[in-house]
């Protein structure tokens, strides 16, 4: 029997089965691509919504068991007809219905896409003509955007682990760091915004599984000739308590390891990753051209790969003034802002022999014609072996095969750069 008949039967009286009440769709007033479906059921039951446009299908995760349901639909393009249907955990459905999405905030860039086959959602930030976090579909369309009007820069955005929305930083690394920098949590529909004041925020932060946020925060301290600008890691617990868990002074002595650009600071930590088991942090120390592993419990630096203070030396091309990176077991992938040559950036990968203390270059991607992201920049290794590269300042995203061919590329028009990149496992993950 075709599914349509099953659907019709499902929404009638189902011989004692769960009944689905009338559903309503509310579009976000500020982000018209976000729709919230509300409905009731005759019993507490988990439900999801399946929905589709003319060329895309989506499915929300099962919500909690309840009789009053409120399910947020994400990933939709603007001004697009959508069909949706409620599906209960036992497969019971209501009748499909439709709505049309509204507008995204104005001031977003046009995105120009070449190639196909990209399959990952992309959460990043816009810097420049418009500032704020955005969610980009695998097809390269901005489907969610939040414009931050604080006059600060936004370098990193991540989906909140509880699924309620997005967290991003509003900070400044231009000249002196901002006293009024904040972490911002915004709900998907834009109706709720929570700010956490963290003065002197730098580029990056991570969210731990318990909701703790760890952020890079500029710290001023003593140097050989007076006060200098170093960095720290600050954990912000879910109850708001802020605790410094690491300082660059814990591991390095500015008299011994002075960094290479004192005019912008001593260490200039610019990127932060979290070990999968949350026992360690990894940071990029730009002015050392080094990447450091930090024991989360003790604050001890376990190793340093790269330039100054290195405990693991590079064999092959070295990276310089790097930003984001990714450690996968004994493979280290780095966005190398300036190691190739002046005004040319690249992605470079090393095989690390922990015992021998050597990181050997095994792969790199140097685009032709060259690109330059003199700040920011991000890399990620995808499941199929491709590498996703965010050329932040150049406003370009590339999915590159192991043999160095870009199969998918996105460009922004002049005036729009990207921050760091988060690639969620799925639209709702």
């Amino acid at each position: 029997m075709p599914g349509l008949l099953l659907l019709v039967l499902a929404c009638g009286d189902k011989d004692g089965g769960v009944e689905i009440g009338a559903a309503e769709v509310t579009l976000s007033e500020t982000i018209g691509t976000v729709a919230t479906v509300t409905f009731t059921t005759s019993e507490d039951v988990a439900a999801r919504v399946v929905y589709e446009t003319a060329d895309q299908s989506f499915e929300t995760p099962l919500g909690p068991a309840t009789a009053d349901h409120e399910i947020v639909l994400l990933g939709l393009p603007a001004n697009t007809e959508v069909q949706y249907q409620v599906v209960l955990e036992d497969g019971t459905t209501n009748e499909p219905a439709g709505f049309t999405t509204g507008n995204l905030p104005s001031g977003l860039p046009a995105t120009l896409v070449e190639g196909e086959g990209h399959d990952r959602w992309m959460m990043t930030t816009l810097i420049g003509a418009t500032t704020g976090p955005v969610l980009i579909s695998p097809q390269g369309k901005i489907t969610w955007a939040w414009v931050d009007g604080r006059g600060l820069d936004v370098y990193r955005a991540r989906p909140l682990r509880d699924g309620s929305g997005v967290i991003y930083n509003a900070a400044s690394v231009s000249g002196d760091p901002a006293d009024n920098s904040v972490l911002v949590k915004v709900s998907w529909d834009g109706s709720a915004e929570e700010t956490i004041t963290v003065p002197l925020l730098a580029h990056d932060f991570v969210e731990l599984s318990d909701g703790t946020i760890t952020a890079i925060v500029v710290e001023y301290g003593e140097g050989p000739e007076g006060e200098i600008r170093g960095d720290s890691l600050v954990e912000i617990a879910p109850d708001g308590t802020q605790t410094q868990v690491w300082s660059t002074w814990d591991c390095f002595d500015p008299a011994v390891t002075p960094g290479d650009e004192p005019e912008i600071g001593w260490t200039f930590v610019n990127a932060l990753d979290l070990d999968p088991d949350e026992s360690a942090y990894y940071v990029s120390v730009r002015n050392f051209s080094s990447i450091v592993k930090i024991d989360r419990a003790t604050g001890a630096c376990e190793w340093v790969i790269g330039g100054q203070a290195a405990t693991i030396e590079i064999e092959g091309d070295e990276f310089q003034h790097e930003h984001q990176f990714e450690l996968n077991g004994d493979r280290l992938l780095v966005f190398d802002n300036a190691g190739l040559a002046f005004n040319k950036s690249r992605a470079i990968e090393y095989q690390v022999d922990w015992g021998a203390g050597v990181a050997t270059e095994i792969w790199k991607y140097e685009p032709d014609p060259s690109l330059n992201s003199f700040v920011l920049g991000d890399v990620a290794r995808l499941d199929d072996g491709d590498t996703f590269i965010t050329w932040s300042v150049a406003g370009q995203l590339d999915r590159v095969s192991p043999d160095g061919v870009s199969s998918w590329r996105l460009n922004t028009e002049l005036g729009y750069a990207f921050g760091f990149m988060t690639l969620p496992a799925g639209l709702y993950e």
């Binding site: 075709p2 599914g3 349509l4 099953l6 659907l7 499902a10 929404c11 009638g12 559903a23 309503e24 018209g32 409905f39 589709e52 603007a78 001004n79 069909q83 949706y84 409620v86 036992d90 497969g91 459905t93 209501n94 009748e95 499909p96 219905a97 439709g98 709505f99 049309t100 999405t101 509204g102 507008n103 905030p105 104005s106 001031g107 046009a110 120009l112 420049g128 003509a129 820069d153 690394v173 231009s174 912008i264 005004n343 060259s370 690109l371 330059n372 003199f374 700040v375 050329w391 300042v393 150049a394 406003g395 370009q396 460009n411 922004t412 028009e413 002049l414 005036g415 729009y416 750069a417």
Partner: protein, 317 residues
């Protein structure tokens, strides 16, 4: 029972017990804009180029400027908020000019950008004072004769690249010893020949409704691909006693010679109700009077100040 292909549901007929949903995102438009309604123009951008010393600090002065790209008068100290210098490593000056004409330049086309926010008092600044993200320019290595194209933009507003009123190329050459740069007027950079006579006038009901839909537009006035996402402003303007022929000869002044102007900031999307447009005399009252009405759509973030769409309105009863 389990969910099957929702695709079946999409082709379903009348809805059953499910809810119809809220159709609030849709707008019923009665005025549909098409490419045939759009004006056409040939626009040539010719940016002046100033040869300077390579790798040496420059003194850049803009206090002598009197007119901007659109040949409108400008107070250089009061009106200009930011001076930006962008480097295009793989494009010639001619290619950049073409990019400006077609609004086709990408962020990836530049590999360096530095800027200086004006203080509205001084009319000169050293190139070495320029910076971005807190990193100052290193003039000896970053402003050099290496084949790159350097474009200096003086803008109104602080957003990089937005609101350009003055543009000039700087051209570092190893054999030059010029370190003083006097930024010239930008009047004459744009050579526009606009045609309003050949378009298909847009028929609209004189007294409304005036819900406009521009989703079908594909090309701007110069024939380049039109990016709907870029449109952020709508203007309806009346020119008393003027004909389309009169207006096309004053194309660069169309926004300042109106008898009445009604504007609407667009939050995105592809529809708008002209009844929401407002001007000095209040809300748009409808089309009346002896003269010419124009309807235009703009991209305020585009380098080319020409409207992406402009048509002559033909009110009907």
């Amino acid at each position: 029972m389990h969910i099957t292909m929702l695709g079946l549901a999409m082709s379903a007929g009348p809805l059953g017990c499910g809810d119809k949903g809220d159709d609030s995102g849709g707008v019923d438009a009665n005025i549909v804009l098409t490419d045939a309604h759009n004006f056409s123009y040939t626009g040539e951008v010719t940016v002046p180029s100033i040869v300077t010393a390579s790798g040496q600090d420059l003194t850049i002065c803009w206090d002598q400027i009197t007119q901007d790209i659109q040949c409108h008068d400008i107070d250089p100290l009061a009106d200009l908020d930011n001076i930006g210098l962008a480097r295009f490593p793989h494009k010639t000056q001619a290619e950049v000019e073409t990019g400006l004409e077609l609004n086709s330049l990408l962020q990836a086309d530049i590999d360096g950008y530095v800027e200086w926010n004006t203080d509205h008092e001084s009319g000169c600044v050293q190139l070495s004072a320029f910076s971005f993200f807190g990193t100052p320019i290193d003039v000896p290595s970053q402003y050099v004769d290496d084949g790159s194209t350097y474009m200096l933009m003086l803008t109104e507003g602080l957003e990089p690249g937005v609101g350009a009123r003055i543009i000039t190329f700087l051209e570092p050459q190893a054999e030059s010893d010029v370190t003083d740069v006097t930024v010239p007027d930008s009047c004459g950079i744009l050579d526009f020949t606009a045609t309003l006579e050949d378009l298909t006038p847009l028929e609209v009901p004189a007294s409304g409704p005036f819900v406009v839909d521009w989703s079908a537009l594909t090309q701007d006035g110069v024939g380049a691909d039109l990016l709907l996402e870029n449109i952020d402003r709508l203007m309806v303007a009346f020119y008393e006693g003027q004909t389309p022929t009169d207006l096309q000869s004053q194309f660069l002044d169309l926004e300042i010679i109106t008898s009445a102007t009604y504007e609407l900031e667009l939050p995105g999307g592809t529809t708008a109700d002209l009844a929401d447009a407002t001007g000095a005399s209040g809300a748009f009252p409808g089309f009346s009077g002896d003269g010419t009405w124009l309807l235009a759509l703009f991209c305020s973030r585009c380098y080319n100040p020409a409207p992406v769409f402009l048509t002559v309105v033909s009110p009907t009863e």
